[in-house]
């Protein structure tokens, strides 16, 4: 039952589209085109000489074991962040949706972290978990746990996952809460009359009705973990120790900005772009079918 609005002529619809097309062109197609172009070049840092080398950058990147390890780090990091951020947010939203005293205060407090900039969030966690100056870091060492994320790769990964998750929980919480509140009371009451207990009501009624929200959030969270966590990683671990927390987006920065290897960095950006396009396409094509809007 889709409503169609039909314009007379073609000038007006294109005119109305123009601002959006212009913005997409300037902020997406132009830089993306530049990245694709640079990925075929070998350039010195100052941009004074450039050679066209075809697909050599891509070959170098894809055969680089460090690139493959960054890919693996990204898979671990993104799935851990997306699932724990969604899980925790859903739990908190369900709790905050109950009739409790001071619900508004809880809600406000839970939404707060979203307003914190990634780098600042990272510094907060650094002050908690730094092995020498951090509150929890010192406590852990005092308890005999050998906590030092600057030397231990697993601990470093755990720390960036915690920091990245913490920041994203608020956003998910907000959407889940809105989703919960839009579930009609009558459906829940009907289920209750049929004798369904709260847990059963949640899994058979609430959860399926939240599916569109969850699906939307899954996409947003994965994109967040891929791209928006640069600040957290940069401020906490700089991809170290070793390359234990170097994700794909961080490696693009290291190779392009720090090491001034523009060709390799551009090739990685192009691959990253392809990954994200593929990921989104898969999600919409296969997962969306099972979701009831």
């Amino acid at each position: 039952m889709r409503k169609k609005v039909i314009f007379k002529g073609v000038a007006l619809p294109y005119l109305l589209l123009l601002p959006q097309i212009a913005i997409t062109g300037v902020f997406f197609f132009w830089p993306a085109g530049q990245a694709v172009y640079s990925s075929f070049l070998r350039e010195d840092a100052f941009g004074l000489s450039r050679d066209f080398i075809g697909l050599e950058n891509f070959r170098d990147v894809l055969t680089d074991p460090n690139y493959l390890s960054a890919l693996w780090n990204t898979v671990v990091f993104s799935s851990a962040v997306a699932f724990s951020a969604l899980g925790i947010a859903l739990f908190l939203a369900v709790q905050a949706d109950k009739a409790i005293r001071g619900a508004a205060a809880y809600k406000t407090l839970l939404i707060w972290p979203y307003a914190v900039a990634p780098a600042v969030a990272a510094v907060l966690w650094l002050f908690l978990f730094h092995p020498q100056i951090g509150l929890l870091g010192r406590a852990l060492n005092g308890m005999g746990v050998n906590w030092d994320y600057k030397v231990n790769g697993g601990q470093a990964m755990l720390l960036v996952i915690i920091a990245a998750t913490w920041k994203q929980v608020s956003y998910n919480f907000l959407f889940f809460l809105a989703g919960l509140q839009s579930i009609p009371k009558s459906v829940l009451e009907a289920a209750a009359i049929d004798g369904a207990r709260p847990v059963r009501r949640f899994w058979t009624v609430v959860f399926p009705l939240l599916a569109p929200t969850s699906f939307f959030l899954l996409v947003v969270n994965i994109v967040y973990a891929f791209f928006d966590t640069f600040g957290i990683i940069h401020a906490l671990t700089q991809g170290g120790p070793g390359k234990a927390t170097e994700t794909l987006i961080y490696k693009v920065y290291v190779d392009g900005v720090q090491n001034l290897n523009f060709g390799a960095s551009a090739a990685q950006s192009v691959i990253l772009m392809a990954i994200v396009i593929a990921l989104t396409a898969i999600q919409f094509r296969f997962i969306e079918r099972k979701v009831h809007y």
Binding site: L48, G242, N259, N261
Partner: protein, 444 residues
């Protein structure tokens, strides 16, 4: 002499064009020094501006050394480069290969007729920034070297001689054990892991870091760090870390904070850390020279720190003669013995010229208790009779920023027990050589 000519010039100008209220030529200068050093550097620019009114040097802080380097290169590509940029020693190879992006200092001086006597500069400083034929490419300024700072109070508690830092690594290990026995949680750490434990280590032990005289001979240099002596040293560091004698404090300057706070009893760090320790440390401390393994006679250490490079405005923007003249005048100001001497005594960086060193010594500065050990870096630079070998002249590798990171990464993986120290050096050498070959191809 310079001042008189200059005054005369300014006077002549004033007489010739009284109506022409000249705008001073603006010279942008980007640096990478945090406080308090950054403020001291900006003060020098302010003093220069006050000494004349034709040029105005505006100094601005652009983040850490690597960030400043990246910012300057990006600005060049956009046609907005600063006139002068402070570049750390690791960027020297990249800048030398930058072709028409930079104005070599020897050309600058020749074209503007300004004279700076580079023969007065310490050989270790001069050689680092000169072509093999001796022509200067950049203007040396804040040069440091690696030294050891140690906590004398902690040494006393561990029944160690507080007035004598061990000369060998064997002695350092014993001291670390004694400190640990006396309850010190962190006996030893190192800032700048690659600079201190690989580059300086190789220089004073007189072994090559790479072929081609550590890269001074050409872009086709190959790393030689997977050698028995460095393997031995890395194996020790990894074992000491495991045994609690050594603590890895992070990359680059991250470990600096561990010493002034009293956390670690010994630190291998830049001599430029002195100012901060003086300000913050609540205990007695001393300065020691870098140790060697028994059976080696140490030779001179190399420098780190930074020099000033003259940049063109962009790929299609050349500097005007007026701008170049101003830059040359500013450099001549920096070369003045009183400026270099003050910088040295204020900060702990090396006095870059002999005249400055003599000048400071004549004031009895080193004899005062508060300044004890301020001459250790200089003596260490002249260790081995001042006869530099090709292993101790300096390092000029392309992509060196990346190579340093690679060595740190591989070392970190060894500290995690993911690989042996030997494997770490082999991996670092292979990965480093890939970087060198890439750089060679990019700059052919």
């Amino acid at each position: 002499m310079f001042r008189r000519t200059f005054m005369a010039g300014a006077l002549a100008l004033g007489l010739a064009a009284p109506a022409m209220a000249q705008q001073p030529v603006e010279l942008r200068f980007w640096h990478g020094l945090t406080q308090p050093l950054g403020g001291m550097l900006e003060q020098i620019a302010t003093d220069f501006n006050a000494s004349q009114n034709r040029y105005r040097v505006t100094a601005s802080f652009r983040g850490s050394y690597p960030e400043t380097m990246v910012a300057a290169i990006a600005a060049f590509r956009a046609g907005q480069a600063p006139h002068i940029v402070q570049m750390f020693e690791v960027g020297t190879g990249t800048m030398m290969a930058a072709g028409r992006a930079i104005k070599p200092v020897h050309e600058l001086l020749a074209e503007t007729g300004v004279n700076i006597d580079f023969s007065d500069y310490l050989p270790g400083v001069r050689g680092y920034y000169a072509l093999t034929d001796g022509r200067m490419m950049s203007m040396p300024f804040n040069s440091s070297t690696t030294v050891v700072f140690y906590n004398k109070d902690a040494f006393r508690r561990a029944n160690l001689n507080p007035d004598q830092f061990p000369q060998t690594w064997e002695g350092v290990e014993q001291a670390a054990r004694a400190l640990k026995g006396a309850g010190v949680a962190c006996p030893m750490t190192t800032a700048w892991p690659t600079w201190a434990q690989v580059e300086q280590f190789s220089a004073i032990h007189n072994i090559p870091l790479s072929t081609q005289a550590n890269g001074l001979g050409g872009l086709n240099a190959e790393l030689r760090i997977a050698n028995p002596l460095l393997t031995r040293h890395f194996t020790n560091l990894v074992n000491w870390q495991r045994d609690g004698l050594f603590r890895y404090g992070g990359r680059d300057g991250a470990a600096d904070a561990l010493f002034p706070s009293g956390e670690c009893a010994m630190i291998f760090a830049s001599s430029g850390l002195r100012a901060r320790i003086q300000r913050e440390a609540q205990f007695q401390w001393g300065v020691g020279m870098l140790p060697v393994y028994q059976g080696t006679t140490p030779i001179n250490s190399i420098i780190g720190g930074a020099s000033f490079w003259v940049m063109q405005g962009g790929p299609n923007r050349q500097r005007s003669a007026e701008e170049l003249a101003g830059v040359a005048q500013f450099f001549a100001w920096l070369a003045r013995p009183e400026v270099a001497a003050k910088w040295h005594t204020d900060t702990g960086f090396l006095p870059v010229t002999r005249t400055a060193f003599e000048r400071v010594r004549a004031t009895g500065f080193y004899g005062q208790p508060a300044n004890a050990g301020a001459d250790v870096p200089i003596e260490q630079m002249l260790r081995g009779g001042g006869q530099m070998t090709e292993n101790s002249m300096g390092i000029r590798l392309g992509g060196f920023v990346e190579i340093r990171t690679i060595i740190q990464e591989e070392l970190e993986r060894a500290f995690q027990g993911q690989q042996t120290a030997e494997q770490a050096l082999i991996n670092a050498q292979n990965r480093g050589n890939t970087v060198l070959r890439n750089f060679e191809r990019q700059n052919r």
